[in-house]
Symmetry: C2
Subunit: 169 residues, 2 copies
DNA sequence: TTATACTTTCAAAAAGTTTTGAAAGTTATT
DNA sequence: AATAACTTTCAAAACTTTTTGAAAGTATAA
């Protein structure tokens, strides 16, 4: 396999994986392309390399930047904007974790708070079960939230340092 | 807010959250319904409560069972099948983690292995960058994989016991 | 064996998401 | 101020996923 084939394969597969992660295919493909590119690329290059339209390229590059996993870059003497990917995988993982925490965990906690105060006979089995479930979920969500906060704030290599000891390095 | 409104709100919101997790809306709604139900429900009840078709109900109940987060149940003297949700949230989290590991992590490792052996001039910047990236991703994926394996095998309350010490809780 | 009470399947329809590309917007240069 | 080089927007089209419901399948009881 030569380098072009390998890059192509990687980009396609990364796109497919992205979809399972709830990330749109093109966004993941652009990230993959920027990850394997030794130099920043501009819109035209991305469009050509992935055979996508200008609008699509623009939209998804912007999404990557919003997530904090790609950056705009300017080359002196050039008007074009260049883009590069964040290549520190731990940093990417941290960003993605933060983003998901915001999008997934915060709404759960908010929902549970709203739904916590219900009126009615506390001996009704429906009410008993509901309150039990809300309580269980709330405890869980708060534990996960605190744990994420902890690991995100900690050293970027937390995962290594916390767990790898168990595997002797 | 009365119990019916609260349940309704919870079910709808859980469905929306499910979508962001890559889980189909109806599957998440059925899970939510079964989570708040004090007794197991049968197909007819699920269809009616969520206003969905028989096929849709059947398909998504089956998916929940495949994921190991809901169970079939039989009531003696009844021909209908009843369904109940796994209500231990730690158990649900474990199952979901296992499922995602299989669907998301395993394909990455497989891809990286395939793409690792490329032919060409090792001084070509494209090749250098590519090999660097594959190596970084491979190390990361393997660390995450081993860590998940560890925490899944460990006590169900691993999350608590590993991190909560840091919060004196 | 036949009838009945249920569950499962699957092709077509509906709903939802992504992509396109032309037009509008922005900024830098002359 | 006008032009050129670029970026962004957005409505329509293409594509993907989900849902429906009627038909087929299965198991139990009489």
């Amino acid at each position: 396999m030569n380098i072009t084939e390998a890059q192509e394969k990687f980009i396609q597969a990364w796109g497919t994986l992205g979809q399972q992660w709830g990330v749109n295919r093109t966004m993941a493909q652009i990230q993959a392309l920027l990850l394997v590119a030794p130099e920043p690329l501009h819109a035209e290059e991305i469009m050509e390399r992935l055979s996508i339209s200008r609008g699509n390229a623009n939209m998804n590059v912007r999404a990557l930047i919003d997530w904090g996993i790609a950056y705009k870059e300017h080359k002196s003497g050039e008007r074009k904007e260049y883009f590069r990917a964040e290549k520190d995988i731990w940093e990417v993982a941290k960003r993605v974790t933060l983003e998901r925490r915001k999008r997934e965990l915060e709404p759960i906690v908010k929902l549970l708070d709203e739904v916590k105060q219900i009126t009615g006979d506390k001996n009704d089995p429906e009410i008993k079960e509901f309150e039990l479930m809300v309580d269980r979920l709330d405890k869980f969500a708060n534990k996960v939230d605190k744990s994420l906060e902890y690991v995100i704030r900690a050293d970027e290599h937390w995962f290594l340092s916390t767990f790898m000891k168990a595997f002797k390095g």
